[in-house]
């Protein structure tokens, strides 16, 4: 068993290292980090704009006015989260290269806008009119997510390449330094944007018409279709658990690959939720964060803490329960993972891998069957306590909180026998140790 563990760790460590230290995945993760405060701000207002029962109480008209008044909060943030991700990626990439990072963010967003068709279709009494001079917000939401990410990568790389080439305009001596510096960003930016313009023109001659269409149909749609399916989700869940079993931060490693997909799926749901349409996706960012992780942290260890309080006889587990409970409520569970311990503990391996998979299946099918509403696209901060987070994530539905309660029960039942064995072991070890110390104690007295 030890040998097997060692081999597996030797396989996983380099993967974790590669994924976490990859320049683009790091920029992507940090880019999402830039967007997160805006996403959460918008989410709060989606929650407020959709509080349950109030519409019946204040009347339809007042309710509509209220919703309209709060609308801009999420329309300017959550619905166009791609905008912040693009700026974040461009900024962070150039920061990583030690360049002037603000230009990285600006050149990324400008490149993206060059590729974006600045028209929208407007339906007036059955005839469709094309309206120019607009930036459609939907391209900055779910639809443009992948194009935005790729554009930010390429734009920042090109910009950096041209800066490093040092293609600056040489000013004659006597020109103030500040003046020549103001030109130093000009050439790299101009060249970068020109390339994107050419790309846009080339694509207008293809059947795809726009780069947007090209990326969406060829990359985003297949990837999100794959990512929204149950097999890919189970694989992601298992990978996260497996990394954690070796004490490596599973989410930070796996999410850097899955986040763009999960966020795109999330945004599709948000758009449908706000339009009052049926939600298209079950698997979203919140499916993972709220129903698979957000019940005490990775592996849903709130149920483990509960188990410790209910069956723990050993001092070790009791102490751990006291230590882990306050943090566990807010989904921080390193004390449990390293303290129980879960890492490298053969007894913990089965419940650790099995419970999240079963929970994922139960969550998926209860949503597919319509018993529990699908996640509404609201991003709930991951430190939000369980039951409340489920309520918020499903667009203020009690069923979301109840599902989390059921999930806690499932995890608890799966862990029960294994926790019992661990507790018995610790308990008998402690008894043995107590006996020895009391024996030696007696001898000393004698």
């Amino acid at each position: 068993m030890d040998k097997f563990m060692e081999t597996l760790e030797n396989v996983l460590m380099p993967i974790a290292d590669k994924l976490n230290n990859n320049r683009y995945l790091t920029a992507l993760r940090n880019g999402f980090m830039v967007a997160l405060p805006f996403i959460i701000f918008g989410s709060i207002f989606v929650v407020l704009a959709n509080l349950p029962f109030i519409d019946q109480w204040v009347g339809e008209e007042a309710w509509a006015t209220y919703q309209d008044a709060l609308g801009p909060a999420s329309a300017a943030t959550l619905s166009i989260m791609g905008l912040f991700v693009i700026i974040g990626i461009g900024y962070k990439l150039i920061e990583g290269y030690g360049g002037e990072s603000i230009y990285g963010g600006a050149v990324a967003i400008a490149s993206f806008l060059i590729l974006t068709p600045q028209v929208t279709n407007f339906d007036l009494d059955g005839t469709v009119h094309e309206v120019g001079g607009v930036i459609p917000t939907n391209v900055m939401g779910a639809e443009g997510m992948f194009l935005g990410i790729f554009t930010a990568f390429f734009a920042a790389e090109l910009y950096n390449y041209f800066v490093k080439k040092d293609l600056t305009i040489k000013m004659p001596a006597g020109v103030p330094d500040a003046v020549s510096r103001s030109f130093s960003a000009l050439i790299p930016i101009a060249l970068t944007l020109t390339i994107f313009l050419v790309v846009r023109i080339i694509f207008s001659f293809t059947p795809f018409d726009t780069v947007q269409n090209f990326i969406y149909t060829l990359i985003q749609e297949p990837l999100t279709a794959l990512g929204s399916g149950l097999p890919a989700t189970i694989i992601a869940v298992l990978l996260i658990q497996l990394f954690w079993f070796f004490g490596l931060h599973g989410q930070i490693i796996v999410n850097s690959v899955f986040d763009p997909i999960w966020y795109a799926l999330n945004d599709q749901n948000l758009a449908a939720f706000q339009a009052g349409e049926e939600l298209p996706n079950i698997v979203t960012k919140q499916f993972m964060d709220t129903f698979i992780v957000g019940i005490g942290g990775s592996g849903m260890t709130l149920a483990v803490i509960l188990g410790i309080f209910l069956i723990g006889r050993s001092r070790q587990l009791k102490e751990l329960g006291k230590l882990g409970a306050p943090a566990g409520i807010f989904n921080v569970n390193e004390p449990i993972i390293f303290g129980l311990p879960i890492i490298m503990n053969p007894l913990a391996l089965i419940p650790w891998l099995l419970a999240p998979v079963i929970v994922a299946l139960v969550t998926y099918f209860s949503m597919a069957a319509g018993i529990v509403p699908k996640p509404a696209g609201i991003i709930v901060p991951w430190t939000t306590p369980a039951i409340l987070s489920g309520f918020l994530a499903t667009g203020n539905s009690i069923m979301g909180g109840l599902l989390q309660l059921v999930n806690i029960g499932i995890v608890f039942i799966i862990w029960w026998p294994f926790l019992k064995i661990m507790d018995n072991q610790y308990y008998s070890n402690e008894k043995k140790a107590d006996k020895e110390t009391s024996n030696t104690g007696n001898r000393n007295v004698n």
């Binding site: 974790a16 976490n20 230290n21 931060h249 230590l323 390193e334 004390p335 390293f338 311990p341």
Partner: protein
């Protein structure tokens, strides 16, 4: 004054440890400044620190941090998983002081 920096994925679980380490330091009368950050902030904060301790779940970041640590000239190490799980402020504080030396 010894300045000890802890880093993990979001600076959450290490901040648990920070308060325990501060208690341990106070009890022993050691003058320290201890704080926790998310991993992406760590390189910047290393300039203000005398030592960097990495949460064991982020131990794959050690190689990357080592470069910055070398430039800034501070020691770094991964926190022992057992001490991390027990939130053993005393043990981690000892480790940090040992790394700083003197």
């Amino acid at each position: 004054m010894k300045r000890i920096l802890l880093a993990c994925s979001a600076g959450m679980s290490t901040s648990l440890l920070v308060s325990k380490m501060k208690e341990a330091a106070q009890a022993r009368g050691v003058d320290v400044e201890i704080w926790a950050v998310a991993q992406d902030k760590a390189p910047k904060d290393m300039e203000k620190a005398d030592v960097l301790l990495i949460g064991p779940q982020m131990r794959f970041m050690k190689k990357k941090f080592s470069k910055t640590a070398e430039e800034v000239g501070i020691p770094l190490d991964v926190i022992d998983p057992m001490a991390y799980g027990r939130v053993d402020g005393e043990a981690v504080l000892n480790k940090a002081l040992e790394l700083i030396g003197d």
